[in-house]
Amino acid sequence: MEQRMNVRATIKDNFAKKKQTTDKAMPIFFFVCASVSVITTIGIVLTLITDAYKFFQKVALSDFFSTNLAPLSTEPHFGILPLINGTILTSLIAMAVAVPLGLTAAMYLSEFASDRVRRLLKPMMELLAGVPTIVYGFFAYSFVTPLLMKIIPTLEAKNALSPGIVMGIMILPLVTSLSEDAMRSVPAAMREGAYGLGSTKLEVTVKVVIPAAISGIMASFVLAISRAIGETMIVTIASGSSKNFTFDITQSMQTMTAYIVEFTSGDAGSGTTGYYSLYAVGLMLFLFTLVLNLAAQYISKKFREEY
């Protein structure tokens, strides 16, 4: 009924011939709106590059790629390596949690679970994905760290281990749902062929489905690393702001994202070297995630098996 009313109104409008000019003008309006996303990207790249350029006029590249980070001391140093080290270590811990759990959960959902169980479990997994990261940060700091302290007495109140683990839980739904999508898109005929030869479900999953879906699974891992590297609040809260260059995950270490948050919420006045260092670190972070995302797209295109 509603549909018919619409069509009638449409005819009436057309008779009035009023819409001719709007019909020509609207695509231009839509194009302008569509270009906002492109302008946003250009804006991000421009702000990062211009302000990072001002930073590199004051700080030598050799100082930037050093392990000495002391932005607030009287003789400030802006070595980014401690930040990169912290970022990579926390992300690796996260992956150590998310990859085995995520892949096995995806195998279960895609190959073993009945339709009813899957319909029950998938929305709950999505719930896990919908929890804001600040909540995970609070959880890491106020629950996981004290819990880990009972196991590892030397653990500091702020450390890399606890946010790494919680970050793993955070990216777990991403790994699970993307890997599951990849595995489910493997044609049923391939599974049936393997079943026909007398394989068990496990053998079909490990020897047929995973090799066939490997491009999607690898892409999900890379996207998960990218998400972990860009994650901010968990590491800011639970990993602290120590600027030491260390591989000891029981100690506090700062990530690139946490550095940006610490410095902006501090009193970095506009125009100081410290203020511009934000953009240099932001540029590095942007490049890291961009490269990983392009890699994920490349992997899923290049190694896709077409059936």
Binding site: Q3, S37, V38, I44, P132, I237, Q297
Partner: protein
């Protein structure tokens, strides 16, 4: 091990030996299958158990703190007197900026991509750009907001600056879900409209958009639930730590629910009761998100039309 060599006349003992050894092999494979099936299920359960533990812990911590006084009171440095009314108003203010901005720009972009420029270099460039923009870390959007809205447009750390920053952040989500919704409108509806003599814009306005509306709304709600949980971009904008005033206009400084959680979590070292306040705020935030997601699912199920 097993001799598969065909014998013309195998003895009974040889036959039995072969059957026996094959049976044992098969039993072992089935056993492995059954054990690993349970292991995979457990990793799925583990992820959900963490979610349950998180909710339980935070729920316990918020007991006794979550009351009317807490919801409607003003911010205070004394934990017993502190309330989050200002943060609630701030979050609502953010939503009031994000909804119109993302809906207009996001839906227009989707219309442009799906109705006007379905092929061609510009459209594919915008699509690639959107997918890359979606994976830029949120803290980078904070840096963009800081230089663009905060300093260039002199919006400082107002609700408007925060809302615009979050709008750019969630724009890709709105575009992609609107694209899906518009794509799912069957072509015969459009053709019927054209057949009646309607022009393109009238067809979009009166046929395509009404049919696609539930999908668009679902995406919009999901993007808003992402926006109100987002912390990092707002912290980077430089939201002051302690804001006692309730914001009155979009140009006022503000605090929002996730920011309040962040600052209270940071200050638990000084005042342990702040952890309870943070937990209570988390419950408010999670309940809001849960309600919004339920509405989204309700809309999707209720108004989804099949053609």
């Amino acid at each position: 091990m097993i001799n598969y060599e065909l014998k013309l006349n195998p003895t009974e003992a040889e036959k039995e030996y072969k059957i026996d050894i094959n049976k044992r092999r098969i039993d072992r494979r089935i056993l492995l299958n059954n054990i690993l099936k349970k292991v995979f299920f457990l990793s799925m359960v583990f992820a959900l158990a963490v979610l349950g533990l998180l909710l339980y812990r935070i729920g316990i911590q918020s007991i006794g703190w979550l009351d009317v006084q807490f919801l409607t009171g003003k911010l205070s440095i004394f934990p017993e007197k502190a309330g989050i009314w200002g943060a609630i108003i701030g979050s609502i203010g953010l939503i009031c900026v994000v909804i119109p901005v993302t809906l207009v720009i996001g839906v227009s972009t989707a219309i442009y991509l799906e109705e006007y420029a379905t092929q061609g270099k510009i459209a594919s460039f915008i699509k690639v750009n959107l997918s890359n923009l979606a994976s830029v870390p949120s803290v980078i959007f904070g840096l963009l907001g800081l230089s663009l809205f905060g300093r260039l447009f002199h919006l400082g750390s107002s609700i408007l600056a925060g809302g615009l920053t979050l709008s750019l952040l969630v724009l890709p989500i709105v575009v992609v879900s609107s694209q899906e919704a518009i794509k799912s409108v069957p072509n015969f509806l459009r053709e019927a409209s054209y057949g009646m003599g309607a022009d393109k814009w009238t067809t979009i306005r009166k046929v395509v958009l009404p049919v696609a509306l539930p999908g668009i709304l679902t995406g919009a709600i999901l993007s808003i639930s992402r926006a109100i949980g987002e912390t990092a971009p707002l912290v980077v904008l430089g939201i002051p730590t302690l804001i006692m005033k309730i914001p009155k206009s979009f140009m006022d400084d503000f605090t929002a629910l996730p920011i309040q959680i962040y600052y209270w979590t940071l200050d638990t070292v000084l005042t342990p009761e702040y952890a309870n306040l943070a937990a209570a705020t988390i419950i408010v935030l999670l309940v809001t998100l849960f309600l919004m997601n339920s509405v989204a699912i309700f809309i999707r199920n209720k108004y989804q039309r099949g053609f």
